[in-house]
Amino acid sequence: MFRSLWPLAMLAAVLAAATTLSTTLARAHEIVGNRFFPATLAIDDPGVNDEVALPTVSISKTGDVPSFKQLDVSGEFAKRITEDFGVSFAPTWSRLYAPGGSNLTGARGFQNLETTLKYRLFKSPEHEFVLSAGLEIEWGGSGAQNVGAERFTVYTPTIYFGKGFGDLPTSMNWARPFAITGQVGYAIPGVSKITSATFDPDTGEAAIDTEFNPRVLNWGATLQYSMPYLKSAVADLGLPDFVNRLIPIVEASFQTPVSNTATSGTVTTGTINPGIIYAGNTYQVAIEAMIPVNRQSGTSVGVIAQLHFFLDDIFPNTLGRPIFANNISTGRPAFGR
């Protein structure tokens, strides 16, 4: 009996390790002066807004040994409480396909629910700069253990920023459509270690295993070139409307265990994602390749795609407004807010 359970135990262990090091799929969009920061897929952007990402679909091969093909289907609903403060909820459903020739049968189920509280700290329309701070919470025990969802909660305080280069001198007009965004977060597991009794089927001996849950630095950035910005703020080249709505982008997302790493190791994992975003008036569509940076990050190039709706534009007077909104009734509005 124990022998028959051994492969499942191994599967659960590698999935748990993968999930601990995984990052979130995300999220918001933001307008700062001339600049439209689109929702990005590998990292969260600094925006606080009302929006729905539904669905985000990714297919990749994990860095586990053996490697599993993993399908993730996720969604996210983000809601502003005030103009600068919002909350989002993001469930993810995973399907893991067992490698061929193994008696591992794979698994399916929901990952732990993720909630993010985010506050916009600073916004400069003139310099196309925005800075936000947030707390991401992965609720332990809310997902299925057979896809690696942990029983403990993970808290990740995070800083987000975005900077457009529209304030460069006109002699560098070619560079003004560029923008960068980034995030740095520190994931703190609610439980520092998990101790369990195991039975080794080969030796017949029982043993006590301790798994330490590392604290992980989640960091990443994007580099994007905005064709909408080129047309509306630099030079209208008369390109087709479809081209004028494209934003070529490269995202990078990394996870580095930095403490309590006795059993996890300290290898940085992550992916670099070149892709493209099409920005409509009320939605955007994005697709990116996911290139693992090392063997521990994956064994082949994956794909991620997302359909994303701007609720503030679709439901401007109801669902797309902050719950506590500033009313525009008299006087000139404070532009850029």
């Binding site: 002066g33 509306s232 209208d236 008036n281 709706f309 401007p316 509005p333 532009f335």
Partner: protein, 117 residues
Amino acid sequence: MRIIVTTIAVMFATAGSVFAHAHLDHAAPKVGSTVAQSPKEVVLWFTEKLEPAFSSIDVRNEQGAAVNSGKATLIGDRTQLRVPLKTLPPGTYKVIWRVLSVDTHRTQGDFTFRVGQ
């Protein structure tokens, strides 16, 4: 999958008239262009209808002095904003726009054009 499709369908079925942020679609003179003669006006075309009381255009020369000869007014189907200009000598001019769309979204932006060679 059916849940996802149904959710999206319900979202749009209940959305009614969809508005959005007003983004600059195009302009005359064109963004970043050079025109041989002084234009008589700047006209901006936006992606959404605008509220006139909260929508403006300022045109400034390289010294930062205003060169528009009047206030911006809405024309056409309320997606076009027009401002008259003084006679402009050769140089680079900055167009600064601030608008409020009819669904109360505020946006702003700027671009330059040149007069002369």
